[in-house]
């Protein structure tokens, strides 16, 4: 066995380029594509939003995706190992990303568990005539904001099922677990969501919703906030900047056309967002017409769209159960393929650092994640904890580490020419000075604007009016904790078997 084959066998690898692309699409296409993009587009200029959205995709999203691919593919390791190989002192960036992924995984699983439960609720429309009351009362049993230990069995059981499935998938490895999940479930997701869209656009009033979504408000293009929303949407949607694409790229054969694959992933992700926008707003148009109100009175995003607006819509629409099963089933699949990519960042890092077996690392990461997830999110306060952690980890975790890593790689290490040369060696798209400018200047500048804008808003007004102790501990505290973890974890030494200098395949066999 050659050293390259040996390394591949040890770390795992995607069986082909197609599987890698499907896994990357599965990671990028998540809950945000379905419940965030349609509302962001509607709120920020409607059809005119297409212009800043495309500019953001082509000038920041896809170029940043190439950067992640270049780091992982060039340095053949998890996020911490890749950064350590890039320059030993930047390893903390990788562990910072790992900590962010761990936190995201523990709450993301809870939303998938809710969607799983709602897939079955859809069949008999269990929410009755009051979906909001059902969600917060009967289902989540949420009281006043705070942290409690009162377990909600109706959430605990599906959450345990989700984690059980994740543990099995992760233990099976990159090829048989993550790869096969994507290979089979991404086509299922596209077909299921496609059927949902066809059903939605054939509902009475669908054109009212589509008109609301696509009617352009050209004056919005003069507002900086609209451009910031476009860059934010592209950034959060593409799974870039927090270790996932670095990890996945490290599992890809050395001779692959990574920029070509990146274009496919970027356009597939945005193409799915457009499909989601059409489906969601066609359905909202039906609902608005049925209730005799304007679309803006029913339009929503996030948890409200999925678990309040859609159930109400399912109750009113002909064949509503079908819409419900397709909608919540799509959320489960989109969420699951994203969740495995998030937890893979952590497992891959633990394997690389401690030279553990696949099953050992999956359990070492997955079992604690399951316990934390069940303890925090299967209780009556789970929804509040989730809302706060999600907001702060997105803004001051993902966004901050992305800006920091871009600035460090582009300006601190001046590594872009070397990374571009690596991608150019086998890529179908030449990366030169324009790419350096986009990744080194434009993308960090725009993302910094989004970050500062969010920071000022959070300082002015406490997020969603939660008690300050909750925001300080679960919000700012979590955002600070992931940085501290990153710095501390980077102080641990690498084992002698793991080379930090090239050739990476020539690992020392000590056993």
């Amino acid at each position: 066995m050659s050293t390259t084959e040996h390394t591949t066998a040890r770390r795992g690898a995607f069986s082909s380029r197609k599987v890698f692309i499907l896994a990357a699409i599965g990671s990028a296409v998540g809950l945000g594509n379905i419940w965030r993009f349609p509302y962001v587009a509607y709120e920020n200029g409607g059809g005119a939003f297409l212009i800043p959205y495309l500019v953001a995709l082509l000038t920041a999203g896809i170029p940043f995706l190439f950067l992640d691919y270049a780091i992982g593919h060039r340095h053949r390791g998890s996020a911490p190992l890749s950064f350590a190989r890039l320059r030993r002192g930047t390893e903390f960036l990788g562990w910072w990303q790992v900590a962010i992924c761990f936190l995201i995984a523990v709450y993301y699983a809870a939303v998938i568990a809710w969607a799983l439960r709602y897939t079955f609720f859809s069949v008999d429309e269990a929410w009755g005539s009051d979906p909001e009351g059902f969600l917060f009362g009967e289902f989540l049993q949420a009281g006043d904001p705070g942290v409690t230990a009162d377990v909600v069995v109706g959430v605990l059981v599906p959450l345990a099922i989700v984690w059980g499935a994740v543990l099995v998938i992760m233990a099976l490895g990159v090829e048989k677990g993550v790869g096969r999940l994507s290979l089979y479930f991404i086509p299922v997701l596209v077909v299921a969501f496609g059927v949902l869209v066809v059903r939605a656009i054939t509902l009475e009033g669908a054109t009212v919703g589509l008109d609301a979504l696509f009617s352009p408000s050209w004056e919005a293009l003069g507002e900086p906030g609209v451009w910031a929303a476009a860059f934010g949407q592209i950034f959060f949607s593409l799974s870039i900047g927090f270790g996932i694409m670095i990890t996945y790229a490290s599992y890809v054969d050395r001779h692959n056309d990574m920029p070509g694959a990146g274009l496919v992933v970027g356009f597939a992700n945005s193409g799915f967002e457009l499909l989601a926008g059409i489906g969601v707003f066609a359905a909202l148009g039906f609902m608005a017409q049925a209730q005799g109100v304007a679309v803006d009175e029913v339009a929503a995003q996030g948890l409200g769209l999925a678990f309040v607006v859609f159930p109400a819509l399912i109750s009113e629409a002909p064949a509503g159960a079908l819409i419900g099963v397709l909608f919540f089933g799509s959320l489960v699949i989109a969420g699951l393929t994203s969740l495995v990519s998030v937890i893979e960042v952590v497992i891959s890092a633990v394997r690389d650092k401690f030279e553990m077996t696949r099953v050992g690392a999956s359990m070492a990461v997955g079992v604690p994640a399951t316990v934390v997830s069940l303890l925090l999110f299967s209780t009556t306060s789970g929804v509040y904890v989730l809302d706060i952690v999600d907001h702060f980890i997105n803004q001051y975790g993902i966004l901050l580490v992305a800006v920091a890593s871009m600035v460090v790689v582009a300006w601190g290490l001046r590594a872009l020419p070397d990374l571009a040369a690596h991608l150019n060696a086998t890529g179908s798209l030449y990366l030169g000075r324009p790419w350096f400018a986009l990744v080194g200047v434009l993308a960090p500048a725009m993302l910094s604007y989004v970050l500062v804008d969010a920071f000022v808003a959070d300082l002015r007004t406490p997020y969603e009016g939660y008690p300050s102790w909750m925001l300080n501990v679960l919000g700012w505290g979590a955002a600070a904790a992931v940085v501290v973890f990153g710095v501390l974890a980077a102080r641990l030494s690498w084992r002698p078997e793991t080379p930090l200098e090239e050739p990476y395949e020539a690992r020392k066999e000590l056993r």
């Binding site: 380029r17 297409l50 589509l210 696509f214 356009f267 945005s270 193409g271």
Partner: protein, 42 residues
């Protein structure tokens, strides 16, 4: 639907879905999957 909305919806479809098709064709032209790849996937 207004004419503006219809046009923008079609433009969005053409750019994003058309872009995806072009990206896939471009990738395959540059580097066709090998028989080994296909066998492994199956």
């Amino acid at each position: 639907m207004s004419l503006d909305a219809v046009i923008l919806m079609l433009v969005a479809m053409a750019i994003l879905w058309g872009g995806l098709v072009v990206a896939v064709i471009r990738l395959n032209r540059h580097d066709l999957p090998s028989l080994d790849d296909i066998h492994r996937d199956l």
